[in-house]
């Protein structure tokens, strides 16, 4: 079928510590937090002060430059602390949770009788808007703009990421409701992509364009799918929503409550119990997995794109996986020799690990080398399944050459699309950071 997408370039990194498909209800955290740093580019304007009592779904801050975009509390309780960093930037808004939640009531709505504007207004009021992100730039969508299409990638290909079918199987009706709602936000099409080898859970979904996607990571990245279905041109906007977020939105329309429950895959070789947990957005890591030694890195998100967390940190707003892998703070004698240390996975054939494509590896956070000038060519292209020259684009990003960046396709990429380049490149450059900074420059200069 023409709707199918076949990805050939890329790399599946097979790691040990896959989350087992059993669900435990996580003990309710005593503290929850919403972290403005999860919402790139948002400057929070606080509505509540420290010490204020708050209901689940009550607005705690809004975006300074787009005051319709509101951020709400995931639980009811007391706003106990606003943690600030350098230059008084707000890092975490911490809420001491009540034992039971009391919700802000927005009332149940029948989506089929609502106009697009009404759906949008209802979502903005209820605090569901932060789930809607936009491409280009990979930031929260601006409600004043009109997207040409909406994409939902109902598949994950990143290493140790959560299985989307498993996330959705018990909340399929909410997912369908959510799709109906977000479809109204755009006059264009709504696209849903599913893994080609999946169980067909989402096959019967109507009212959307369904794409079956086959191929290695980053096939599950929504940006790759957009590129193959309806690429973004200068000035265009595409909105993207995470699959579980769609279900949360659906539940919001059904019940009128902002009940942001997630399934979180706890994965990685150092995870005490590698399995799925039912938890609320903003849960505390310590309450979730207990005390973790400092020789372990806790990553909110997957190993390629996630954020490092402290043991008492809070799971990221959008994340469905918490990965725990060992830190790699040790030396390896003569480890630079070709064909040495084959226990470390490598895409390069200067290691023997490519001979065992199905072996699962235990990895750590060692850089396996030092940063160097860009010398090797042709390796980035192997993990970039888009009609884009990644190295040339990165170089123009480093040079902040806006016209060249536009020409080479900066609007079509997000940092996550360069995660595998971070991983594979010989010179150990931080491609995701370079792309993020370049996108920020574009927001400032072009908008």
């Amino acid at each position: 079928m023409s709707n199918d997408i076949k990805i050939r370039k890329g790399l599946d990194i097979k790691l040990k510590g896959v989350a087992e498909k059993t669900i435990s209800v996580a003990p309710r955290s005593k503290k929850f937090a919403i972290k403005p740093t999860d919402f790139h580019g948002v400057t929070p304007k606080m509505v509540l002060k420290e010490g204020a009592s708050v209901k689940a779904g009550e607005v705690i801050f809004f975006s300074k430059y787009s005051d319709r975009v509101k951020f709400v509390s995931p639980v009811s309780g007391t706003l106990s602390e606003i943690r600030r960093g350098a230059k008084r930037r707000i890092l975490e808004v911490v809420i001491d949770a009540d034992a039971e939640d009391t919700f802000m009531e927005h009332g149940s709505r029948d989506i089929s009788k609502m106009s697009g504007e009404e759906v949008k207004e209802h979502m903005l009021e209820g605090g569901c808007w932060p789930f809607i992100k936009q491409r280009p730039y990979d930031i929260i969508a601006n409600p004043e703009e009109a997207p040409k299409a909406i994409f939902v990638s109902a598949m994950n290909t990143a290493p140790l990421s959560a299985d989307v079918e498993f996330l959705l199987k018990d909340r399929l009706d909410d997912f369908k409701l959510g799709l109906e709602a977000i479809s109204k936000l755009s006059s264009g099409k709504t696209h849903v992509s599913v893994a080609g080898g999946g169980s067909g859970l989402l096959d019967g979904i109507s009212g959307v364009e369904l794409h079956k996607v086959n191929g290695p990571h980053p096939a599950g990245n929504v940006g790759v799918q957009i590129h193959h279905v309806d690429p973004i041109n200068f000035g265009e906007r595409v909105w993207v929503v995470g699959p579980e977020d769609v279900a949360i939105i659906g539940a919001f329309f059904r019940t009128g409550k902002f009940q942001a429950d997630r399934l979180l895959a706890v994965a990685g070789t150092e995870a005490p119990n590698a399995q799925y947990y039912k938890m609320r957005i903003g849960s505390n890591v310590l309450d979730l997995v207990g005390k973790i030694p400092s020789s372990v890195r806790i990553i909110s998100g997957d190993v390629l794109t996630g954020d490092q967390l402290a043991n008492n940190g809070f799971v990221g707003y959008y994340h469905n996986v918490l990965t725990l892998i060992p830190e790699g703070k040790d030396h390896r004698m003569f480890g630079w020799m070709p064909f040495m240390d084959n226990h470390i996975p490598s895409m390069s054939r200067t290691s023997l690990s490519w001979l065992f494509p199905n072996k699962r590896y235990k990895v750590n956070t060692n850089l396996n080398g030092e940063e160097r000038a860009l010398v090797v060519t042709g390796e980035m292209e192997k993990v970039m399944p888009m009609d884009i020259y990644p190295m040339q684009l990165l170089k123009e990003c480093m040079a902040s050459n806006i016209e060249k960046m536009e020409n080479l396709g900066i609007y079509e990429v997000a940092p996550e699309d360069f995660a595998l380049i971070d991983y594979t490149n010989t010179s150990k450059i931080e491609a995701q950071v370079i792309i993020r900074e370049a996108l920020d420059l574009m927001i400032k200069e072009v908008g």
């Binding site: 990194i13 690429p231 041109n233 265009e236 890195r297 990553i299 190993v303 390629l304 794109t305 996630g306 990965t323 892998i325 790699g328 703070k329 030396h331 390896r332 004698m333 003569f334 480890g335 630079w336 020799m337 070709p338 084959n342 470390i344 996975p345 490598s346 895409m347 390069s348 054939r349 200067t350 290691s351 750590n364 956070t365 060692n366 850089l367 396996n368 080398g369 030092e370 160097r372 000038a373 860009l374 010398v375 090797v376 060519t377 042709g378 884009i388 190295m391 040339q392 020409n407 396709g409 995660a419 971070d422 991983y423 594979t424 490149n425 010989t426 010179s427 931080e430 995701q432 950071v433």
Partner: protein, 385 residues
């Protein structure tokens, strides 16, 4: 191992930040990271990284060079003894060659790495591994009797003007090893060409003729070597270039590990074969009618296309660009051989020429990508208008 590690950590303390030898840290790090992969962990970006790094990549190229180097050492002795008519064993030949060539390698590494270290300390970055390859390539493309001081001067020129002047590793336009050879060639032509330099002691011992096959062809003489000698490499020439057999082994290592671009190699062979074939049809002189397949196995062509043209920094960077770049190197190599009687080898100049044009080739390849994107935008704007 942990004892050595402790000792190193002790030794490195004065080089740490804020300590008295902080500035010289790159020099210490170069040795430290040679023994141990450092304990650096990821700070930003992806949390896990591939096992490959630049050291590993560069050492793979050095490994690929070794077969041709060892044969070159043996062949140096073999040429000397077989031409003087002395009886000799394999070991005699090898030792004679090693006696000549090891000092060249030592000088090349000492001078080149010395300059690299100074620049790393001066500019405050780590020592890049690229010179490990360049430093071995330079002796391998020199005639065996070149004085060591000329090697030193050529290396200094190549590293200073060819590389550091452009900003160091990764920024240079021309292949540094070929810069060294080109410099020596134009500065000291009597040591780099003619029929007296290609065999050990040829200039001092009358019995030895050090003429290369291409040299005799250019002079209009008959070639006395058979195909097997040309392929196996028991012929006079620069140290590393003579044995196509062992160069092919190196090429296979580069292709199998993915370190060298097979696109450039195949492109070059196709380009040279087609050009040689066309000249065969024309056949106006001895070099033109030299069979096209023999063009591929004599002179420096095989060595150049496998080890010099594939230098990722000075080659074209796009996949399409690599094909074009490789084919043109092949074409120009044979064309220069045939049309330039003063200098019967063309691969050095062909690669340097294409080094200069590689960014232009890439420019047009990338321009096609940009045009596709602009066309897409134009269709969208036209539709909405």
């Amino acid at each position: 191992m942990s004892f050595l590690r402790k000792k190193l950590d002790e030794l490195r303390r004065p080089f740490d930040k804020g300590q008295k030898w902080e500035k010289f840290a790159p020099a210490f790090n170069a040795f430290d990271t040679f023994l141990f992969v450092p304990d650096h962990t990821t700070k930003k970006g992806a949390h896990i990284r591939d096992a490959v790094d630049l050291k590993r990549t560069m050492i793979t190229v050095v490994l690929a060079l070794l077969p041709a180097l060892f044969f070159g050492i043996y062949n140096t002795g073999y040429q000397y003894f077989s031409q003087t008519g002395e009886a000799f064993t394999f070991m005699d030949a090898f030792l004679h060659g090693a006696w000549k060539i090891v000092p060249m390698i030592v000088v090349s590494y000492a001078v080149g790495l010395g300059i690299e270290f100074i620049f790393a300390i001066y500019r405050g970055h780590e020592v890049n591994e690229g010179y490990l390859v360049t430093g071995l390539l330079i002796p391998m493309i020199m005639p065996v009797d070149i004085p060591l001081w000329m090697v030193a001067v050529s290396v200094a020129f190549a590293v200073l003007i060819g590389k550091e002047a452009f900003g160091g590793t990764g920024m240079n336009i021309l292949n540094p090893a070929l810069m060294a050879r080109a410099f020596a060639f134009f500065a000291y032509p009597t040591y780099m060409s003619g029929n007296k330099v290609w065999v050990s002691e040829a200039s001092s011992v009358d019995a030895i003729s050090g003429e290369t096959i291409l040299g005799s062809l250019a002079a209009g003489k008959e070639v006395t070597y058979n195909m097997w000698s040309m392929f196996a490499g028991s012929i006079p020439g620069s140290i590393g270039e003579t044995s196509t057999l062992w160069i092919v082994v190196g090429a296979l290592i580069l292709i199998a590990t993915g370190v060298g671009s097979w696109r450039i190699m195949i492109g070059g062979i196709v380009g040279a074969a087609v050009m040689g074939f066309l000249f065969n049809i024309w056949g106006a002189n001895a070099l033109m009618s030299f069979p096209w397949y023999q063009h591929l196995i004599v002179g420096g062509f095989a060595f150049g296309i496998v080890f010099m043209a594939t230098d990722p920094v000075s080659a074209a960077q796009t996949f399409k660009g690599k094909w074009i770049y490789g084919v043109l190197i092949g074409v120009f190599s044979i064309m220069i051989r045939v049309f330039n009687p003063a200098y019967p080898e063309g691969v050095m100049l062909a690669i340097l020429l294409m080094n200069v044009f590689a960014p232009t080739i890439d420019h047009y390849v990338i321009e096609a990508n940009i045009k596709r994107r602009k066309k897409r935008l134009a269709t969208v704007t036209a539709k909405s208008a």
